[in-house]
Symmetry: D2
Subunit: 346 residues, 4 copies
């Protein structure tokens, strides 16, 4: 079996497992008040070149989006997102569950455009009825996006500029940030993100941790009584030190970047293999998710050869887009094996 279905199928990077085992019998105070959380937060502040950042650790991505968006927004505000944003489509309405509307913008390979954002915001404020409308209070972007694409520094700056102009906070969902930071050609660093975003999260679950997301508030803007609000959402982990030790490990000796770089190298190898096999990339993704359009007959052959992939969508009656994903756990021989099969069946 060759499986490149996802980047959260395995456990955790061995280094994380090792450190969890080492401290297993230690006693730690609960609810992220322990020393490992403090140490991890400090390392994140340094990596972001943002000494004033406030860092809090949560368990999962949807939970993080829900808690951050709900606690940052005023009750009368909504969050702007691409129509294909994770919060718009695949979180079962977790944002609306807390009372906030997701205001959708068109997507362009998963990204939003500063220009269209500006139109939405300016139209809102010009509308004579805007007191009967949902106020756009925050902009949500994912980086990498759900399509594996990345914003350039210039694009981020333009979006941040519009946010600043219309008093909307800018929030980046970094569920797969490790792969974004290490992608070929990107000019966006953690320091840029900390500078341009009001809040973002550094993904752990999909980047080598067992679980965990590190939320970073960059502008002295952590919501008041944040711990209580996390508790109120049912999102406060009792053994918070497990989050601390994982992120402390990820930000020791550049492990987070090494994990990203490994997955990117194999994703690039796979991308080249797909091209060599004469296949049509569905989107030009520089990160660890690769999308390819195949005739249904070819998909069927892949399955017969034991290849596990993610179904993405049907583009026409006899063609399907499928997704392959690499991670810290992916082996080079797995990618080479897949390429070999692809060449054989095409």
């Amino acid at each position: 079996m060759i499986s490149l279905q996802n980047d959260y199928s395995e456990g955790a990077h061995p280094q994380i497992l090792k450190r969890l085992a080492e401290i297993n019998l230690e006693q730690n105070p609960g609810y992220c008040t322990d020393g490992y959380c403090a140490s991890a937060a400090e390392k994140i502040r340094q990596t972001c070149t943002c000494p004033e950042a406030e860092v809090f650790f949560l368990v999962g991505g949807t939970q993080t989006n829900q808690v951050v968006i709900d606690t940052m927004l005023a009750p009368f505000e909504g969050v702007v997102a691409a129509r294909t944003g994770h919060i718009s489509t695949h979180e079962a309405g977790a944002i609306e569950f807390t009372g906030h509307k997701v205001l959708e913008l068109p997507q362009h390979e998963g990204k939003i455009l500063a220009k269209e954002l500006k139109e939405l915001a300016s139209h809102f404020w010009l509308d004579g009825n805007h007191e009967h409308m949902v106020f756009p209070g925050m902009v949500y972007i994912s980086h990498p996006t759900e399509y594996g694409t990345l914003y350039s520094k210039q694009e981020l700056e333009a979006i941040a500029q519009v946010c600043h102009e219309y008093k909307m906070s800018l929030y980046m969902d970094g569920a797969r940030l490790a792969y974004g930071l290490t992608a070929p050609g990107t000019d966006v660093t953690l320091a840029d993100i900390a500078r341009l975003c009001d809040v973002f999260y550094i993904g752990g679950t999909k980047c080598g941790a067992f679980f965990g997301e590190a939320v970073v508030f960059t502008k002295h803007n952590m919501p008041v009584r944040f711990l209580t609000r996390v508790k109120q959402h049912g999102a406060l982990l009792a053994k918070g030190h497990m989050l601390g030790i994982q992120f402390d490990t990820l930000f020791t000796d550049n492990l987070y970047y090494k994990i990203g770089a490994h997955a990117i190298r194999l994703a690039q190898m796979l991308q080249q293999g797909l091209k060599d096999a004469g296949l049509q990339l569905y989107i030009n993704s520089p990160t660890n998710q690769q999308f390819v359009e195949l005739p249904d007959a070819a998909v069927k052959k892949l399955e017969e050869r034991g290849v596990v992939y993610s179904f993405w969508e049907k583009t026409c009656p006899d063609k399907t887009v499928i997704r392959f994903v690499t991670s810290w756990a992916t082996k080079e021989e797995t990618v080479q094996g897949l390429i070999k099969i692809l060449k054989e069946i095409m």
Copy 2:
């Protein structure tokens, strides 16, 4: 001053005022348990040819949409609506406030298409990830729409058919239903609406009442403990008999239809006047809202002549769409006066 700004600027039809005065000193039990509510409900059931209908009275339109949608949907369900639907745009997120997503469809002169609805529903159920998505549990349509347009019986039947196929309930917002029922060329009756919709409301606020909307559940489907849920939403009127007496009056001697017919006659007169003045209708509305595109210079002249209208939207830098609305209270000389001014300034 000539004002055709809205259909809820005045008080109530004189007949309603008269009956309220007549019963002013009567004692009635509270919370819509009185005889007038019972009588109004029975008259509505008869007019709808739907003897099994359950009727409840609420105060306002946004409140009604919020209560009906929240109580009819399961917590994991959302409501499908046109991008221009009232609940999508001008209710300050009242639906999301109760935890439900509004799933938006494209609008076509304010209406949704059965075909696009079917695509949304079928795509949802085919998607392998639909358990991580918001379930489409209800379809919201307004009739007349926010653009004054109307569904034909055939269109309604096609939408109801898709709803039935995909187990979504069909809800009609009839805030301006009086004008829909009496529009020229419509083939949709209250009986049709009761037959095709699972729930709808008969608008009072914009159709001659001081306030009030009559919610009609047509399929033995009033949510359990509905009165308690209305109370929980803060939407239960203490002196419910005020709602009863108003709807009892509206459904005595066809008053609801007479109110509609009066406004429609004047709206048609206005429409002809707009055409005669060489103006461009923005949308071909058969109901009491008329939309016209004017050069900004002409809009300015209207204002100088004391004409009050509703701003609708800018279509290009020097053109604006404005709206005129007729009602039970509109006088023929007001419409004629407006037409005269329009002819003079164009």
Copy 3:
């Protein structure tokens, strides 16, 4: 039939009806932006001797409690109330519906004690775990209470003092405020209430209006975007001028006080009659609600004589507390008739 069941069984005071009729054909802007709302607000500010007060008009009592409490509290805060407070018991969970806990205190004839409030607040802040608890952010009192009792100025000052010390806002539910302001022996004026409370509402529904409650924010503390939040709760009345004209009338020529005084005079007459008949008052209420304990046999006889009352509670297997309520609409002969019957049956 003799009915003293409630103070919201009839329509509205004739003066209100008269003015509504007079302006019926006037055109007014919607959503409480009209001149009558402005005029009523100004009269309320003057009566309260609180020129900086911000006033907004809502439709009903539960709705007002829900909107005020939800918009004034931070999401992590709850509201403290007597166990018998209206929000604790008879609003179907409308406060919890918006996400806030009601923190209950013991009741003493419907009132809370400053001392017990201070214990709750000080205990909260001393508790090492208070970050896992609901923060007490507001104190809710009703005046008159659900038992018809009143706070003295000294009691109010003591409660306000504790609120100030522990940074809780003080909110008074004045659903029956007309009767509280005109009760014999009270030393609490509207000016005192405006001085001591952060927010309160002047009840209309139970004090002579068709409907309506006037919310008064006294400390430049109306929540931001309040109109939008009212809309989001489904609580914004389209024809807001109906609220304006009613409160403008109530605060012209002291009508609000005259309505209160009339009902109080008849309630006192009834109370004396109850005592003369040798009956046991359940609570010594100086306002328009009178509670009396009767043997069940006597209750049965009352019913046989056509007397309509409110059941309050069973105190022992063969005794029942019932309630009589007077209002602007109560006639002296009704009270005398009831007294006569009571004397005959006892």
Copy 4:
């Protein structure tokens, strides 16, 4: 340092750590659809002698209470709990956050009485106004309670009987269930719990797991679309197999019971030591939490000797109740060391 502060200070039982390491590189499907979750569920069904049980795994206790209560209740229902119940006091209003009221009953050493429950329920249904009240839809009990006490089988049966009579579901919070099942003198088994409760959870976080709680629905009553609702609450763990492997381990070779028995043995040893030192137990707890009242001077001495405990409450100006807790990780020498110190300082 001697610390008996909590049962969630360390990591996980070594056997759990071992198995997590063994499967670290395996690929598993996400969101609790893996084989380990299936295996753990089956073992739980067998241990409960409840083959029809439906089992789902969540991350933490407050999250579990929130998800279970919100998804099991109708929107107009609240949950009954002891005034000292965890959901009443220490979950930051997580239940109210989802719209439901906690209806409080008096507590008796942390427990509720069937008699008082019956009074609440019968009073609700007799009340003429109950349609304006929160319906009691579920009863929440914790076993062991927040005071370490346990229900007897007879007490549970009486409560279950009242629940059945008044159509309330019975929910047991088993955050520390391992210690309840293995306490001296208890006659309540997992099979009893599964028989008497409609839903309960088997606590992992405080009973040897890194994290995790196993929710057991016993009456074919798992809420529809439960996975989607868990997702909507932000409570669905991506790497659900981590929950599966932990509970599979806990229910292999009776590990869950062994963990409980170890902690109970040391708690009993500590209790005897406290008695031998002449100290006053605050409550007679048969489980792993021991409460003792000490003069403040003695508490100070404990701290000077490096003893870490949980502050519980002040009982009078110079006395304090503190709590000691044992767990799978507690060593006998720690308990003996504490006893020695206690004897020295008293």
